[in-house]
């Protein structure tokens, strides 16, 4: 402890000495108290640091265990025993095989007369896709189509197959105007006007006139295909789809979907299935959910 004499006046009495001693004692006390507080804070900080390290270590250990568990289980899940129904799945049906109308009988929709030959619980294997063979058909909820499919009974007759196809297409008729990738309103204002009014016959006649006076181009073909699709002429629509040359339009996802519907309309179910498989397996395709729905309905 510091000597207090140096701070005393020349003629310091006992009172001053005692006061000086008390001051220095008090200062020493403050110093020791401050030192102990500092040590306690240091100790607490170290405990906190240790606690955080333990917590971090525990979290890291848990994360590691979770990763190992995930790896272990995902490894087991990726090589499951194949269910018998999948083992028996036939290879993709040959597109060249002649189809009979019975083959197009479809799954029974709710609250509609039975049109399918399949029993409700019966599982039918999905034809494997050559490009994306392993994607799963999920139960995805998507809104119902805005418009009904063309009236096939009126254009094709009262056949059971036509009715079934109409029921199926009603659920898949995700067909809207305007068409993606086309600028119709400026180039063909009258066609555009008719299509907006959903007067497809008038629009088609207008397009026929246009195609007779000017060289056919992709826009015209696509518009004609669209009109034919909306009027239930699948085979005719496919002819126009086939004449679209431009890479940009040919790669249009909406056009893929419409072409799939045209294939269904044209009774080309295997080709439609193959196309829907490709669309459904493409995670970036805007019509993948519709294609999955189509595959599910076509099972």
């Amino acid at each position: 402890m510091e000597k207090y004499e140096q701070y005393l006046s020349d003629n310091a009495d006992d009172d001053e000495r005692r006061a000086a001693a008390q001051v220095l004692e008090g200062l020493a006390g403050i110093r020791l108290e401050a030192k102990l507080r500092e040590v306690a804070a240091e100790q607490a900080a170290q405990h906190r640091r240790t606690l955080w390290r333990r917590l971090l270590f525990t979290l890291a250990a848990l994360a590691f265990l979770a990763a190992v568990a995930y790896w272990f289980f995902s490894k087991n899940v990726s090589t499951p025993s194949v269910p018998p129904i999948e083992k028996q799945a036939p290879s993709s049906p040959s597109p060249t095989k002649k189809q009979t109308p019975d083959q197009y009988k479809l799954e029974k929709p709710q609250e509609k007369p039975p049109i399918a030959q399949l029993k409700p619980q019966e599982e039918v294997p999905v034809p494997p896709d050559p490009i994306f063979p392993t994607f799963a058909l999920q139960d995805e909820v998507i809104p119902e189509p805005l418009h009904a499919a063309p009236d096939l009974v009126a254009t094709r007759g009262q056949g059971e197959a036509n009715a079934a196809l109409k029921v199926l297409l009603d659920q898949l008729w995700y067909v809207t105007y305007p068409l993606q990738g086309l600028e119709v309103s400026e180039a063909f204002p009258r066609v555009d006007e008719n299509l907006k009014k959903r007067d497809f016959t008038a629009a088609y006649l207008e397009l026929e006139q246009l195609s007779s006076t000017q060289a056919a181009n992709d826009t015209l073909h696509y518009l004609q295909a669209y009109c034919l699709l909306e009027t239930g002429e699948g085979q005719e629509a496919l002819l126009h789809f086939a004449q679209i040359q431009g890479r940009q339009l040919a790669g249009n996802p909406q056009l893929h979907w419409y072409r799939g519907l045209a294939l269904l309309l044209a009774d080309k179910r295997p080709e439609a299935l193959a196309l829907f498989n490709v669309i459904a397996a493409n995670s970036g395709h805007p019509y993948r959910r519709q294609a999955r729905k189509a595959l599910k309905l076509l099972q």
């Binding site: 006061a19 008090g26 110093r31 240790t50 270590f57």
Partner: protein, 202 residues
């Protein structure tokens, strides 16, 4: 660094090779040395609290008060190193402080006419120092700047005058001017204390 070392608090005693080194570090109020003896004495503090039936929260108070007495005795030279572990001396002080805390608690409930056996010179000195510290805090508050800073930096925080001047913590640019000012401030502080003692007839 091994993972077990990373996950456990570092041992502050590791840097002291023997008890003498630890004692010398305690004399200079080295933080690690203080933590070292406190860590060693902590299990005994917990046992004493149980033994004397004190509240579990008393462990920190017991350790703190005992450490104050322990450091004061090292500082004023009344505890000299004799080869023993400094922590064992701290534990001895803790026993007396724990006893004092128990008796103090009992006097709150019982009327004890003769409290002569309560007197422990070290504990009384510590209490006296605590009171003096409280008074000096008040006096420093009355003095204001720059005296408060000049006295705090030297007498409480223990910075050398050279460091205070170099860092520019006060307005004094030479150690001589700082010392002269501090001497004036101390004289002023002593006069305030003297005046207080006279006023209170002490």
């Amino acid at each position: 660094m091994r993972i077990t070392e990373w996950l456990t608090p570092s041992n502050p005693c590791r840097q002291f090779e023997n008890n003498e080194q630890l004692f010398q570090a305690l004399k200079s109020l080295n933080n690690s040395a203080i933590r070292c003896v406190q860590n060693k004495a902590m299990p005994s503090a917990k046992k004493l609290v149980e033994q004397y039936k004190l509240s579990p929260e008393s462990v920190d108070e017991l350790l703190n008060q005992s450490s104050l007495i322990f450091l004061r005795k090292i500082e004023d030279g009344s505890y000299q190193f004799q080869g023993h572990a400094p922590s064992s001396y701290l534990v001895e002080i803790m026993k007396r402080v724990a006893l004092s805390m128990t008796r103090k608690r009992q006097t709150n409930y019982e009327s004890i006419e003769d409290h002569h056996d309560l007197h422990d010179p070290d504990i009384e000195a510590s209490n006296r120092q605590r009171e003096s510290a409280e008074l000096v805090r008040q006096f420093l508050g009355q003095m204001g700047e720059p005296c408060t800073s000049v006295i705090r930096l030297h007498h409480i925080e223990g910075y050398p005058d050279e460091e205070v001047v170099r860092q520019g913590w006060t307005r004094y640019t030479t150690t001589d001017s700082l010392k002269i000012k501090r001497s004036d401030c101390m004289k002023k502080l002593i006069q305030i204390a003297r005046q207080w003692r006279n006023t209170n007839n002490i």
